[in-house]
């Protein structure tokens, strides 16, 4: 992966997309292979805080306000001498939650909770942002807004992002590159560069180039599922 690149991973259900993210983040032991970051094995740097993880559920701590949730990763660290609270406020502002600092998660909508989730992952200034189907639980309308928001936030922060999703259109809309995973055991099946110019908006979803890419990726996944025994296996 290149610095500042937005890569999505799509693949049939249960192919291990989420598992791979969790392994990358050191949440799970890996059964073989190596993960490299800046030429160093991820095992050697596993205690450093290099990756921000955006969970599928908001996983916000219900006893903490938005601000304190974002502060969680900053507490007890040097933060390069910056005031932790100022950093947290900056990122809440970035995700559009100005004025909601003192709200508890149960007072926020699903979309807002995912914004806090994103702010919390960004606040630690990670080298890589890992996102595990962050918009899957949202309704279609909110999801569209959040996709646009993510495009804006990514443009502002220029983070390297690995984004796992099962929605092909979402992957094409957001990414520089889409990787298709094969059915179990999950391996890289194919890669697609997405040369659609940025900044992008919802209109590109009806662009012929967009539809062609979406179709190609779908064919690939369909092929994977058939090879694994058909749709009934899903």
């Amino acid at each position: 992966m290149r610095e500042g690149e937005f890569v999505s991973i799509v693949g049939p259900s249960g192919c291990g997309k989420t598992t791979m993210l969790r392994v990358i983040n050191g949440l799970m032991p890996h059964s073989g292979g190596q993960i490299f970051l800046d030429g160093k094995s991820a095992d050697d740097v596993s205690n450093e805080l290099l990756m921000g993880f955006v969970f599928q559920g908001a996983s916000l701590l219900p006893w903490r306000t938005s601000l304190n949730n974002v502060l969680l990763g900053l507490e007890g660290r040097s933060n390069n001498g910056q005031d932790a609270e100022a950093i947290a406020k900056k990122f809440l502002n970035l995700v559009g939650l100005n004025g909601f600092e003192n709200h508890y998660p149960h007072e926020l909508s699903g979309g807002m909770q995912q914004r806090v989730n994103l702010a919390r992952a960004l606040a630690i200034n990670p080298r890589i942002l890992l996102m595990d189907e962050p918009f899957a639980a949202l309704d279609a309308q909110t999801r569209n807004f959040m996709q646009l928001e993510l495009l804006r936030i990514w443009a502002e922060t220029k983070k390297t992002v690995i984004f796992v999703t099962h929605m092909i259109a979402e992957a094409v809309l957001l990414s520089d590159r889409v990787i298709v995973f094969s059915h179990r055991p999950g391996t890289i099946r194919s890669e697609f560069d997405i040369p659609i110019p940025r900044p992008r908006d919802m209109d590109i979803k009806s662009h012929p180039q967009f539809l062609e890419l979406e179709n190609k990726i779908w064919k690939q996944i369909e092929h994977e599922v058939k090879a694994a025994g058909g749709f009934a296996q899903l």
Partner: protein, 243 residues
Amino acid sequence: MAFGLLAWHYVSEVIIKDTAVLVSPWEVLTKAHEMFFVTAELYAHLFASSRIFFYGFLLAVLAGVPIGFAMALSPLIRDYINPWMTTLYTSPRIAFAPVLLLWFGIGEGSKVAIVFLGCVFPVLINSYYGMRVVNREFVELARSFRLGRWPLFFKILLPASVPFILAGIRLAIGRGLTGVAIAEWFGATEGLGYLVFFAGQTLNVPVLFVGVALFAILGILGFEIVRRVEIYLTPWRSEPQGG
């Protein structure tokens, strides 16, 4: 509540009309007034009962919460304590009373021990359970932020367990008051349990009802205190249960 009191009044004044069996709420109030403000004999009983309740309850929380946590965090400790806990929790406490009396003497010690035995298990079991069922995602979150062992405990596990501990404490209040009553039935010379027991023996129905009513009031008071602590400690819960 008001309807219940009226019904009680009606039954005692119109249907039963026998003060050896049932007295009206008015008579209970009159008796309570007399015992508080004329003879002033109630204060000693109330004070004695409150004292043993408070000590037994406090010790139960101080012991139950850490033991419950230790069981949740260490399978070894859990396996060691579990059979003891099950045995003690499921046996009738009243059967332990004579044994505790033998061990701790007829003073305050044995009474506090009986109350303790009543309170400790709800607190212990809830603390254990609360920490066991902490959302897996919260633990993963802590790991993704590379939180150490103690920050994980203090920032995730402990706050997540608080509602469960408070629910355990709520249960402990009722069981603790039962413990007070049991404790004061054995070789006590004061306390609400003694008062009720003695009044029952001498068929002094008004005094008996005063004692029972005071137990109820202590219970309500305890619940109210826990409810306020709950609101203070867990403002993030939209609606604290019960109350």
